[in-house]
Amino acid sequence: MTSKIKETFSEIKKEKRKALITYIVSGDPNPNTTLEIMNSMVQEGADIIELGIPFSDPMAEGVSIQKGHERALENGASLESSFKLLENFRKDNKITPIVFMGYMNTFESLGAELFMKKAASTGLDGILIVDMPPEESTDFSREANKFDIDIIRLIAPTTSAKRAKEICSQCSGYVYYISVKGITGAGNLNAKEVIGKVGVLRTLTDLPIAIGFGIKDAESASSVMNVADGIVAGSVFVDLIGRNENVIKNVALKTRELSEVLN
């Protein structure tokens, strides 16, 4: 079975544009709003949605997304409620790939086998576990293979070419290039450096490459998009949700703005 993520990237390539991957936290501020945001994001041009699975200790996140996790947790969101949310989303949308992004401990609360069974039956396409480097992912890799769920992996500016090659060989769907040394929402994007590093990465893998972490707006997206197959934007959306004013409308406008840049 070909993965929906793979299909999506090849479609986008044919259309000669870049994928817009959006990130929001599942259940931030509540599941109904998240569902509404997801649908609106798709309508405004999001190609893939990464749903952050709320965790009490989101170590790799900057303040914006940390607050998103806190808001979601206050309202009782969890891995379980995220699967429910996905089920509801899939009632009307069978096409847009959805990736669960989060931290090992919440994914393990279900266990790798149960997780993947549930993922396959609810129509999840991929997972990205931030604190699960290939060395620590034996169980999830094995079960993901069985159920055709993509494991998206991170490559950092600190990753050597040798290691990047090894990581890519255990990755599917797309490779997520972390554009800055830092946490999500960091403001120190160095486009020139990113372009160089992604150029090297391109020679090591045939997988689509998405760039994330330092992408805040149309300007930062356009500064690196040419070397990538997709751009991930997260903090900017979670910030808008946190502001709690015309959330659906503002998120829609921002999605539109970014997707137009990538066209």
Partner: protein
């Protein structure tokens, strides 16, 4: 596998430990492992470390016979390993003295650390001052309130204290924030973790630098007790003072090892910081270990009267020692710890840290049931001066 060879090449103690971090940090941790393997065999480094322990820290620390307390409890002889007499007042300095040399060897210019009770913050700020390195200490806002004395000490030592108000505003959140700093400044920054916790190789490094405590007890037991002690006791938060004491004794199966966790308001209330007693396997701060967590895998808020034990995880080697049955883990609650704090102060004229008092409380419980020819060594991991505000406010006394 023999415990002496732990951790294995993947940084695991059995199923525990490992390196559960975002990719940005994996290469940094690999480099740290490589450099540590080099330096720990380097004669010049070993001499410098030993000299610093002798002349800066003031080692060896005494193994003191608590005669009056022994008589009062009426059972086993009790010996106190006096880590409270170290420079800066706790065992924490042993590790920072070692790690700052490693940081310098690696050419790092900026030092960061997390702290709960503030003892590790003080110990890190002290060695950073001595080596002229910039130092930033992350500390939960809750802990800043209850350990104001140590906050001021850290500032006097020239380090910057950064308050952390995310999550529960305690040690675990300070560690999250230190990790975020490290990932951002990974090129020039060295992160001195203060416990036998975190991703590999930290649990190993911190254990090795604290193992001097157990090595001294091994030697001192011969002259002071005349043979091996029957029981070693230490409090366990992350578990660095306990690991330092236990490690050289692990192959000595005749010596019982007991770690004492923070029972908070009581194990049955759920308001405690005793993951080895009442937690389950999970992943936090780069390691697989026992964790206080709910069914959904969210890390739970912990409770302890002592800021230094107020941590939902525990060093992975302790998790392993528990599972293989080599060490036992008990808990002492807030009230027992406070009583023990007062008792040791009045009976021996030694005021222990509230963290240490948890180990003291267990000794109070167990010593009377042992015979007079048996002996217990308890690690007085730190002195209690930093806690007088906490104790006073519990008693309703305004200082």
């Amino acid at each position: 596998m023999s415990e002496e060879l732990m951790p294995d090449k993947n940084g695991r103690f059995g199923i525990y430990g490992g390196r559960y971090v975002a990719e940005t940090l994996v290469p940094a941790l690999e480099e740290l492992s490589e450099q540590y393997e080099i330096i720990k065999k380097d004669k010049k480094f070993l001499k410098e470390f030993k000299d610093d322990l002798a002349h800066y820290v003031g080692r060896p620390s005494p193994l003191y016979f608590a005669k009056r307390w022994t008589e009062i409890l009426g059972g086993a002889k009790i010996f106190l390993k006096r880590e409270d007499l170290n420079h800066t007042g706790a065992h924490k300095i042993n590790n920072t003295v070692g790690q700052i040399l490693l940081a310098k060897h690696m050419g790092k210019k900026r030092i960061i650390a997390e702290t709960g009770a503030g003892q590790h913050g003080v110990a890190t700020a002290s060695v950073a001052a001595r080596h002229g390195l910039e130092c930033i200490v992350y500390m939960g806002e809750e802990d800043i309130k209850r350990q104001s004395l140590n906050v001021f000490r850290i500032k006097l030592l020239g380090a910057k204290v950064v308050g952390v108000s995310s999550g529960t505003s305690t040690l675990k959140d300070a560690m999250n924030e230190a990790m975020r700093d490290w990932v951002t400044n990974v090129d020039d920054t060295y992160y001195i973790i203060g416990s036998v916790a975190g991703p590999h190789p930290y649990p190993q490094i911190v254990r090795d630098f604290n193992a001097v405590v157990g090595q001294e007890v091994l030697e001192q037991s011969e002259s002071v007790i005349g043979r091996d002690p029957d029981l070693l006791v230490a409090c366990v938060g992350g578990g660095s003072n306990a690991m330092g004491l236990f490690y050289p004794f692990i192959e000595k199966k005749n010596v019982r090892l007991v770690g004492v966790e923070a029972g908070g308001l009581g194990l049955s209330t759920g308001k405690h910081a005793a993951p080895l007693n009442d937690g389950r396997e999970g992943v936090l701060h780069g390691m697989r270990t026992y964790l206080m967590q709910d069914k959904a895998g969210q890390v739970m808020e912990t409770h302890s009267v002592s800021a230094g034990l107020d941590y939902p995880g525990v060093g992975p080697e302790h998790a392993w020692l528990k599972d293989i049955g080599r060490a036992e883990y008990e808990a002492a609650d807030d009230k027992e710890a406070l009583d023990a704090f007062k008792e040791l102060t009045r009976v021996e004229g030694i005021m222990p840290a509230l963290e240490t008092a948890h180990g003291i409380a267990y000794v109070k419980r167990i010593a009377p049931s042992m015979t007079k020819d048996q002996s217990i060594v308890v690690n007085v991991s730190g002195r209690g001066d930093k806690d007088i505000n906490t104790v006073a406010s519990i008693e309703g006394i305004e200082l």
